[in-house]
């Protein structure tokens, strides 16, 4: 090894004398400060670009929100939102919200879809905690607002109104909501942002989706607690009467007839078969001469409203292939819609002669709510080519930004690598 040692020492003797330019120390530190400032500036520019890009991204929510008018309706086929679907935010007037395993995943258990009333804009709400469309997430009758998680949010302006409880139903005109909190139920005026009535429901549970219906005119509320139905007079601020339901259930927020003379209950008349039965508004007595045809193939029935010819429009649960017939426990069920084993949902028109299906959820979409005004008006339309607003998806946006930054860094690295030898050798 002495040979190697000697060889290295001989070679080292040929090294040039080390020299440094004058002011090297200050120049090196100044250059470092400049580079650090440039890096900070680059980061700031990137952040500003990212922020500006996010604000001005194409297809931004609300940018294409149309006014409510003709041409709007509920598409008869609901698209399943892919992973890159953008956030609903200000999607505009909405025809339907829907959810199920097709809309959720392991990372987004609270994800559900919304489809606009026109333009087939499909977007998603990505809540941390799942709110079932039609039960805990409710679409206002005109499709302009959504109630969930203790608040009502405009789908047009994005304005959020906090409600002092969980919303159980919109009034038919959409100006009121009925909520439940730990002390009972209440009526909240959305325009005035105030509680206008308090209703004592005891310890009873207002089953989401079914148990509350505000009468047209906003003067009465029917609610179902512990198998009994109470009609509460909002003007007199006291219950008008309470009647037992004998196994029946209030038929949802659209239970009241448009003239307020009666309300509907849903009676299970067979395995997976429900029949709408009307009751007189003044005393809750059953009106035998106003029976509609039984609705088969239904795990539950939730009325959206009534047409002038007496046809009812409802959302019903589609039974799963292997679900056993079960009795609904309206009194205790926390999630009756899941306990009932529905594997999908459909919108049906129910007349005296039978029922007709107008819309069915796609596979793996179990829960559905639609804008009642469109459904009652028969405003169903053929589906168009859906748009998913990928640019408003944060993952897609961030991925694009990262790709842009990586490309810029790569270009800079290549430029530096190719330019450096010339500069160095030329120095």
């Amino acid at each position: 090894m002495n040979g190697i040692r000697a060889g290295l020492r001989v070679l080292a003797e040929q090294a040039p004398r080390g020299t440094l330019p004058d002011g090297f120390y200050e120049a090196a530190r100044a250059r470092h400060r400049g580079r650090r400032a440039a890096a900070l500036a680059a980061v700031a520019v990137l952040l500003v670009m990212a922020g500006a890009g996010w604000v001005a991204r194409p297809g931004r929510d609300g940018a294409a929100v149309p006014s409510q008018g003709s041409g709007q309706g509920i598409a008869t086929r609901l698209p399943v939102p892919p992973w890159y679907t953008g956030g609903a935010g200000k999607i505009g007037v909405t025809a339907a919200i829907y959810a199920g395993p097709a809309t959720t995943n392991d990372w987004q258990e609270g994800r559900f879809a919304a489809l606009s009333a026109d333009g087939d804009r499909c977007r998603v709400f990505t809540d941390a905690i799942y709110a079932s469309p039609g039960f805990e997430a409710l679409l206002s009758p005109d499709g302009t607002r959504i109630a969930r998680d203790g608040a009502v949010t405009s789908l047009v302006t994005g304005r959020r109104t906090t409600v002092p409880g969980e919303v159980r139903a919109f009034s038919p005109d959409g100006t009121l909501v009925v909520f439940q909190d730990s002390t009972g139920a209440g009526v909240f005026d959305l325009a005035r942002r105030t509680v206008t009535a308090r209703v004592d429901t005891g310890d009873g549970w207002l089953v989401p989706g079914f148990a509350v219906a505000v009468a047209p005119g906003n003067d009465r509320v029917a609610f179902m607690v512990d198998g009994r139905l109470t009609v509460y007079d909002l003007r007199a601020a006291r219950p008008a009467y309470t009647v037992p339901l004998d196994g029946a259930a209030l038929a949802g927020a659209g239970a009241w007839l448009p003239d307020g003379s009666a309300f509907a209950t849903a009676v299970r008349t067979g395995a997976d078969t429900w029949t709408v039965v009307l009751r007189r508004a003044t005393d809750g007595a059953v009106l035998d001469d106003h029976r509609l045809a039984p609705v088969p193939d239904a795990r539950y029935l939730r009325l959206l409203g009534w047409r002038a010819d007496g046809t009812a429009v409802a959302v019903v649960g589609v039974p799963g292939a292997r679900t056993e017939p079960v009795e609904a426990s309206w009194r205790e069920a926390w999630f009756p819609y899941r306990d009932l084993g529905s594997a999908g949902a459909k919108v049906v028109e129910i007349g005296p002669g039978g029922s007709r299906e107008v819309l069915r959820t796609p596979a793996e979409v179990h829960e559905l709510d639609v804008a009642a005004d469109f459904a009652v008006a028969g405003a169903f339309r053929p589906p168009g080519d859906p748009g998913f607003g990928a640019t408003s998806n944060p993952v897609v946006f961030l991925g694009s930004m990262c790709g842009f930054v990586a490309a810029a860094m790569l270009a800079a690295a290549v430029r530096r690598r190719t330019a450096r030898p010339d500069r160095r050798r030329g120095a």
Binding site: A6, G7, L8, E13, Q14, R29, R31
Partner: protein
Amino acid sequence: MTFEDFVRGEIDALTRTAYLLTGDRQDAEDLVQTVLARLAVRWLRLDNPGAYARRALYTQSVSWWRRRRSRAAETLTGDVPERAAPPGGEPELAVMMRRALARLTPKQRAVLVLRFYEDCTEVETAARLGVRVGTVKSQTRHALERLRMLAPELTAELEVRS
């Protein structure tokens, strides 16, 4: 000690080591300046600037080699450069040594320089390169084997001299 004092005392030694690591006078000067620029930035925070400078010299030489691998190592020209022989004795041995080192990987070159030029122990070499002692042993063995295989004329010359 000021930065200028440190440079005055160490720059020639650093340049010699850099020359062994790069095999090129200009690259050696550039390498030393790069290392000293990094040192200047950290000067007020360092307890042992000498150790930092030497460690940076080795890590930077490896890093430079990675960056420059794709570049042409030589510029072809039709003119023979008129250049005086470099100072220092025994030019034939120096040329052979430089060619032999050029055939090693930068890590092998660094291990040889540390072990046989700077007379570091295996432990010191490992600490300076930030690797394990076993790596130093294996790199040394591979470097020597490679020298014997790729530059037998150098081995013979060195055996004669030793």
